[in-house]
Symmetry: C2
Subunit: 147 residues, 2 copies
DNA sequence: ATTCTTGCAAACGGTTTGCACATAC
DNA sequence: GTATGTGCAAACCGTTTGCAAGAAT
């Protein structure tokens, strides 16, 4: 579940003009090796396992900095807390209403047609699709327990 | 900007099994007559103009109740606070990164293709597309100020 | 009369901020 | 040596909750 060596993380950080610290390495590495779109708190818990003195504040600051320089994505849909993603390619998400899992999805979206003509002059920079529903696991639980 | 009489609001509330109060009427009416996808705070400020003794807590509780019974929609995208919409038809939104305006948009989205085969068993209930960018007004400001 | 709703204020939780100390460069 | 990052704790702010008084049915 790794695939990237410390060296690579270091050069990635440098490539984004970031100073390299153990905390940042640990945070980026943790995020990079997760598919769960973890929250700041989740990253904190994960990183803490190997780096017990890290503070939650640092995790918040670091994730925000990563996001600022475009190193990571921020997925903040209808889930109640911010969730992050180290894969910055344009893809979309399926969010489980039950367990809050966020699963990557692909799909194409056509240009928006505003209420008025065209899209009302809106300049689209990014499009994000969020599918809400139940993941495979929760769907089963949902069905078996009735309605 | 009205188009609906008090009587209509009353029957709409009743139709959703809600007790009718002046506060609820005012809140629903305010939301219904706005295109701005206002936040709870914004609804509060609006309603307060004609109903000065209303409390913010009531607005929160009421909007949530409306949402529960399906009377209104909750739009909580990358904007920092919850935003509501009295138009519950399936439509999407363009969110201005500058002024936080939310503008209705139409577009079709195809079924999601999960990372795995199909959509990995995900049962889609709702799909929401958020376009981020700059609205007509802010785009102009953005361009004229350079960068 | 009973149940639901309101208003108020306190609590909550995720996130941000200020500051002194430590670290990267 | 200087700028930047860290840890800690307090502040922040949108939102939720508990409860007593008030209104709807």
């Amino acid at each position: 579940m790794e695939g990237k060596k410390d060296k690579d993380f270091i050069s990635t950080l440098r490539a984004h003009g970031l100073q390299v610290t153990y905390q940042r390495l640990a945070i980026y590495q943790s995020l990079y090796s997760s598919l769960a779109h973890p929250s700041a708190e989740a990253v904190y818990q994960q990183v803490r396992k190997r780096f017990s003195m890290i503070s939650l504040g640092t995790v918040y600051k670091t994730l925000e900095k990563f996001y600022d320089v475009g190193l990571i994505d921020k997925v903040s849909p209808i889930t109640e807390v911010a969730r992050y993603d180290a894969r910055t390619g344009h893809h979309h998400h399926m969010v489980c209403l039950q367990c809050q899992a966020i699963i990557d999805a692909d799909c194409t979206v056509e240009e928006p047609k505003g209420a008025v003509s065209g899209n009302g002059g809106f300049h689209v920079l990014r499009r994000q699709v969020v599918f809400h529903g139940y993941c495979d696991k929760c769907k089963a639980a949902y069905v078996s327990s009735g309605s």
